[in-house]
């Protein structure tokens, strides 16, 4: 479905993404994890078209889309959420979602009907008529998800939709994400909440300092010494192993 080939993104002297390659298999949930500032969000901006790669390519359904504008990619079927939520603050929740629904529905009534269904589905039913700016953090994350979903994407890019939610809110939303996958939407998600990653993802990529340093099923990746070091610093894997032996 999606393939990123040796993508590099430089901001001036800073290399935010460095020769990164990944694949998201159709119909699966793929995870992208890594420490803060690793370049995960930047990689998403390359896939969704908000930034163009300095080097490398982005392929979607076999076609090179590296130079397409974001709205063209959305039409092809790529939808993203924003880590820093970006609601249309002056509009109601329903109208927010309807903007997404309009991508595939020209008629206002169709778009509104579609938006309402999507809103119900992600659990925003009681809030549809409220102003988007009145939503809680959890509500805004759901709104991000709902808007993206309303565009009827083939590939959904989720950027930390669980961050800032409490455990019970996380428990509520995980089945929603799984159900979206079950309908055939391919998902690529950035996530720090490891419990969710273990629970949802079939395949995980680990990004550190712009490079993909590991990939595989979540359980394997978490044991990878390179990954532990990336998160906890050099020598951490050794220390952990020694501690295990001593214990």
């Amino acid at each position: 479905m999606l393939e990123v080939q040796n993508a590099t993104k430089r901001f001036g002297g800073l290399v935010a993404v460095n020769q990164a390659s990944l694949k998201a298999a159709a119909g699966a949930i793929t995870g992208l994890i890594g420490p803060n500032g690793a370049g995960k969000t930047t990689l998403f901006t390359l896939i969704s078209g908000f930034e163009k790669p300095s080097e490398g390519r982005v392929l979607f359904e076999g076609q090179d889309i590296s130079r397409d504008e974001p709205h063209v990619r959305a039409r092809r079927g790529i939808a993203r959420t924003f880590q820093i939520v970006q609601p249309f603050a002056g509009l109601s929740v329903l109208e927010n979602i309807a903007v997404g629904a309009h991508l595939r529905h020209a008629k206002r009534s169709d778009a509104m009907a579609r938006a309402e269904r999507v809103g119900q589905r992600v659990g925003l039913g009681p809030e549809l008529e409220k102003s988007a700016s009145s939503l809680t953090v959890a509500g805004r994350k759901r709104l991000e998800l709902a808007r993206a979903l309303a565009t009827e994407p083939k590939l959904l890019l989720l950027d930390e939709v669980l961050a800032g939610l409490n455990p019970s809110e996380i428990r509520d939303i995980i089945p929603v994400i799984r159900a979206i996958r079950d309908e055939g939407v391919t998902i690529l998600m950035i996530e720090h909440v490891m419990q969710a990653v273990m629970n949802l993802c079939e395949q995980v990529y680990v990004l550190a300092q712009g490079r993909i340093i590991a990939e595989g099923p979540p359980a394997d990746v978490c044991d990878d010494p390179k990954v532990i070091e990336a998160y906890l610093g050099a020598g951490a894997a050794e220390r952990l192993k020694r501690e295990k032996i001593h214990a």
């Binding site: 908000f50 504008e69 709205h71 993203r80 249309f88 603050a89 309009h102 991508l103």
Partner: protein
């Protein structure tokens, strides 16, 4: 958009259409026609500024283009004024598209967009003031020849009806925008451009559509002005006064609403007549009040008169329920 959406517009316009039957005083009709022309120009601004959130400070560029096109096409080329009128609106659309293409493609927004539109209007003003074709500083006089096929009428009532019909047509257009995909996307661009892009909105195209429509409507107001006063010069057509009027009316009436520009134009010009009566013929006093009102509106009534009315209606409703 359904028929029900435009019922209030039809009712309002029908009621207003009876005004010339009851009021025949020339000064009052003059005031009403002028106010409607301003309302029309402001409706144009509201499409781009109110719905699209792109604040132009140079809508004189469109108003003036319409006014000069209407005047010059008939005076210099002998084209029928009705046709000149239509061409004038199209010219406004073209200028709108061109300014929009240049500025939106360069990513100008916010104050930068306001500044660049201001500068475009000034360039046009200087050119119109200097070129021989436009009559230079002396301006263009349209010859008096009172015949309906010549877009000149015996009674001011006829002009009132034409202006009213145009305002009504734009009310319907604005209602359509409000109820359409184009409108939803335009508002999305106003609220958050990045989010709109992510949802598949071609933001450049949407903004260009808005500025083109906006230019056409404001240019139509300019055409009407030229035809009514039978005279145009650079400081009238491309002057900052009309840019300011076009901004003020929607903000005072209700930004990004269908009726806001009309309500605002009527309120402002009503108020301006009252201050003139109260303060005598001191120049600038009415505009001074306008300026203060703009500050006050932004500070205390960000949703304009319509917002205030809605809120007081809600408060009353709540009181009744309690």
């Amino acid at each position: 958009m359904t028929f029900r959406d435009i019922v209030p517009i039809i009712v309002l316009i029908t009621l207003l259409a009876f005004v010339p039957v009851f009021i025949t005083a020339n000064t009052v009709l003059n005031f009403l026609v002028f106010t409607l022309i301003i309302a029309l120009a402001a409706q144009g601004w509201n499409i781009l500024g109110g719905f699209g959130g792109q604040f132009s400070f140079g809508h004189a560029a469109f108003f003036g283009t319409g006014a000069y096109a209407a005047a010059l096409l008939q005076v210099r080329l002998g084209i029928n004024p009705w046709i000149a009128f239509a061409i004038g609106a199209v010219a406004g659309a073209a200028v709108g598209w061109a300014i929009g293409y240049l500025s939106f493609r360069s990513g100008l927004r916010g104050s930068y967009f306001a500044l660049v539109t201001l500068a475009f209007a000034e360039v046009l003003r200087i050119l119109a003031n200097a070129a021989a074709f436009t009559g230079g500083a002396a301006g263009v006089l349209i010859k008096l020849d009172v015949r309906p096929e010549n877009f000149q009428f015996e009674s001011r009532g006829a002009f009132f009806w034409i202006a009213l019909a145009l305002v009504g047509a734009v009310l319907v257009l604005t209602r359509w925008i409000e109820r359409s995909r184009f409108g939803a996307q335009l508002v999305a661009v106003r609220e958050n451009e990045a989010a709109a892009k992510a949802l598949g909105v071609d933001t450049l195209r949407v903004k260009l559509g808005a500025i083109t429509l906006s230019g056409a409507v404001t240019a139509a107001a300019g055409c009407l002005y030229a035809q009514y006063f039978l005279y145009v010069d650079a400081s009238i057509a491309y002057g900052t006064w009309i840019s300011v009027e076009a901004i003020l009316a929607p903000i005072v009436g209700g930004l990004g609403t269908v009726f806001g520009p009309l309500v605002g134009a009527v309120a402002l010009h009503g108020l301006s007549e009252i201050t003139k009566l109260a303060a005598g013929s001191v120049p600038g006093i009415d505009l001074m009040v306008f300026g203060g009102l703009l500050v006050a509106a932004v500070a205390f009534a960000p949703e304009g008169i319509l917002g205030l009315l809605r809120r007081s209606a809600q408060a009353k409703g709540a009181a009744r329920h309690a």
